[in-house]
């Protein structure tokens, strides 16, 4: 079985990733822009480098005390008149969504890797809902019928020429434009999507979001964004549902500020256009100080805290993977990712993604070929703001895969040769 999984994976990563000039060119452009922006961001705010060390400590504490922080965060959310749910697995999370959403709804979603992890959009569509990704990159990926290929920039592998073609077809069909979009005119492409989604935001029944951090003491979610789509999907519909991985919970609101600042800085922003802070449903006390819920923003807030393998990840010795801020640095630095994009991974990507995929999405057998794609060069560790030791975890994951019989044949054969040699000499 592992050999079949390996062959299928190799075929995908080589045929669609490595052999594609489009992928290579798009990544080359993006990597250069990213590196340049990050240098500017860090030069302008050099304290981020020291702050990252503090954030590592915050994450170490948070992951160690995850169980008590989940409880505390839930209490805070409920205290703020939100509803909090704990989902042990993907299935439990989807069941909660099913009860809350039902069918026949118009839904706007902002970018969330955690929602990708549980295939949320597909699930809601199957229930008979109309769902729109509102982050531009995610929207492009949705139209293409593929999946994101970078954790920050989901359509990083799609050159502008392809985007123009894709949007022209879709927007003409929906009466937004009459002429094809010019492939050089990126602002026009953006404007067209804005026009299309405008309606959706204000007519949506439900808005769905993820979060970059969640403060346990106040129950406040932090959502970093630039496009303004998250604040519209969070703010305009009457019901807001958030799906947040339990590793995002930190003890205090002060900690959450630090975590998010380091995240956006290493994600190459001096400062993002928006950082949304949400602690509860919208409310007013303007008439005789009587608190009434559902003023201009959502009347209901539901927060689903997702475990889905995270506790197991921590307890199996991969706690460092849970510190990940999803800043994307390691992907931009990875020499393998530079020619393969998201094909180096399943749901998550790159070396760090191999760990996440093993525990939260496809399981160890399918994650094994991803672990064997990592060259363990260690550049990711050096460049990661939290100095996460991805190469060490990759070695551990390979060893765990070996114990379960999930090593690809090419490596198995080599190891057999070594084993025979060792026996022979001894």
């Amino acid at each position: 079985m592992i050999d079949e999984v390996y062959r299928e994976y190799v075929n995908r990563i080589v045929e669609y990733g490595a052999k594609s000039e489009k992928v290579r060119i798009a990544l080359s452009r993006a990597i250069k822009a990213f590196e340049n922006n990050r240098r500017n961001a860090l030069s302008m705010f050099p304290h981020s480098i020291e702050l990252a060390k503090e954030v590592r400590k915050i994450k170490e504490y948070s992951i160690e005390h995850m169980d008590e922080l989940i409880k505390k965060a839930c209490e805070s959310i409920e205290r703020n008149h939100g509803h909090c749910y704990y989902a042990k697995s993907k299935e439990e999370a989807l069941e909660i969504f099913k009860k809350l959403v039902g069918s026949g709804k118009l839904i706007v979603k902002s970018k969330s890797l955690t929602s990708e992890e549980i295939d949320l959009r597909g699930f809601l569509e199957e229930l008979g809902n109309e769902v729109y990704e509102t982050d531009l990159g995610e929207f492009i990926v949705q139209l293409m019928g593929t999946r994101p290929t970078h954790i920050l920039a989901p359509a990083i592998n799609v050159p502008r020429e392809d985007v123009a073609k894709l949007l022209s077809k879709f927007m003409k069909e929906h009466g937004i434009i009459t002429e094809d979009l010019d492939e050089r005119d990126i602002p026009k492409m953006v404007e067209t999507v804005r026009k299309f989604l405008r309606d959706k935001f204000f007519n949506a029944d439900i808005g769905i979001n993820g979060a970059n951090a969640l403060a346990a003491d106040t129950g406040t979610m932090f959502i970093i964004e630039n496009e303004g789509n998250a604040r519209l999907s969070i703010g305009a519909p009457p019901v807001q549902i958030a799906i947040v991985g339990v590793e995002k919970i930190v003890p205090t609101i002060e900690d959450a500020f630090k975590v998010t600042e380091v995240t956006w800085r290493y994600a190459n922003y001096t400062v993002p256009a928006y950082v949304n802070l949400i602690s509860g449903p919208s409310k007013t006390g303007d008439i005789e100080k009587v608190i009434t819920y559902g003023a201009h923003g959502p009347k209901e807030l539901h927060v689903i805290l997702l475990d889905n393998g995270r506790t197991r990840m921590r307890d199996s010795g991969y706690q460092e993977a849970l510190y990940c801020l999803r800043c994307g640095t390691c992907l931009y630095e990875c020499p393998v990712y530079a020619v393969t994009a998201g094909y180096f991974g399943q749901q998550y990507m790159g070396g760090i993604g191999a760990i996440w995929d093993a525990f939260t999405t496809v399981g160890l057998e399918k994650a094994s070929p991803i672990a064997y794609t990592c060259v363990r060069c260690g550049k990711c560790k050096v460049m990661c703001p939290l100095n996460i030791d991805i190469p060490a975890m990759i070695s551990k994951l390979r060893n765990d895969a070996r114990k379960e019989g999930y090593v690809p044949k090419i490596v198995r054969d080599f190891a057999k040769e070594i084993e025979e040699f060792a026996k022979e000499v001894q």
């Binding site: 190799v10 990563i13 080589v14 490595a18 052999k19 290579r24 080359s28 250069k32 590196e35 340049n36 240098r39 860090l42 030069s43 050099p46 480098i49 630095e333 020499p335 393998v336 530079a338 020619v339 393969t340 070929p369 064997y372 794609t373 060259v375 363990r376 060069c377 260690g378 550049k379 050096v382 460049m383 070695s395 390979r398 060893n399 895969a401 070996r402 090593v407 690809p408 090419i410 490596v411 080599f414 190891a415 040769e417 070594i418 084993e419 040699f421 060792a422 026996k423 022979e424 000499v425 001894q426």
Partner: protein
């Protein structure tokens, strides 16, 4: 000195026998004798990285036994390698991984770069009018910090221009990053796990880092890295050379004083 060449078998297996030829040539020019070491030379630490921690000790013991036999039979004084992993694992001076586990080779081990560096005063070089991009092997440079030695040796070669393998965009003074921290790996290890991918990774690294610098060659301090670069140059049909550190030094080395 009688020098055991560690990696004798690996180089032809990886399709880079020229590393052996250059190593022999260097040893001879320096007035030493060489002893080839035909063996399974993957290092015991590396088999652990590949997912076989259970083979680390059996392989270390077998390697040690084999080396001890050759050393005593051939009267060897030193073990020399062009590969980073065995040096990183066995070097007593660097408190290598296997040394920490209680293994000790009967004689010292050197990497080609550290060996040349220790003999630097005696080395005589001719002019080598080339512009090269120096790649610090991931294990040797980033992990072990063996970075001054290869550079100091190359600095002694007249007319050789050495560029660092880096991206100026990555430098922010507060981060204190060095070229070896950020040099990109051409993916030599993929040959053991996903060989179809290696030429693509290597050629992209060359395209992004070497071609814009207009160098004559990309030179790696790691034998494994070199074999990936060689595949990358071929794959991309690039008008530059890939070279192992030993090959570059051998081109310039005339002998010892």
């Amino acid at each position: 000195m009688r020098i055991l060449l560690y990696g004798w078998d690996t180089s032809p297996r990886l399709g880079v026998p020229e590393i052996c030829d250059a190593s022999v040539s260097i040893i001879k020019k320096m007035g030493h004798e060489y002893v080839p070491h035909k063996s399974k030379v993957i290092c015991a630490e590396a088999i652990g990285f590949l997912g076989y921690d259970n083979l680390v000790d059996p392989l270390a013991k077998a390697t040690l036994k084999e080396v001890e036999e050759v050393v005593s039979k051939e009267d060897v004084d030193l073990i020399l390698t062009s590969y980073a992993a065995p040096y990183a694992a066995w070097s007593k001076e660097r408190n290598g991984f296997l040394v920490q586990r209680g293994y000790e080779l009967p004689v010292p081990i050197e990497h080609m770069a550290t060996f040349l560096y220790k003999n630097l005063d005696k080395l005589k070089f001719k002019e080598l009018p080339m512009r090269i991009l120096l790649h610090d092997g991931c294990t040797l440079g980033r992990k072990m910090g063996v970075v001054e030695e290869p550079r100091k040796v190359l600095a002694k070669i007249p007319k050789l221009e050495v560029l660092n393998f880096d991206h100026p965009e990555l430098y922010v003074k507060e981060r204190n990053l060095k070229p070896w921290d950020i040099s990109a790996c051409p993916g030599g290890w993929l040959d053991f796990t996903l060989p179809e991918l290696m030429p693509y990774v290597a050629s992209n690294v060359i395209r992004e880092y070497a071609l814009p610098r207009e160098v004559d060659a990309v030179v790696s301090t790691c034998g494994n890295g070199y074999h990936a670069f060689k595949a990358g140059v071929k794959h991309g049909k690039f008008p530059i050379k890939a070279m192992a550190y030993a090959n570059l030094v051998d081109m310039a080395l005339e002998g010892v004083e």
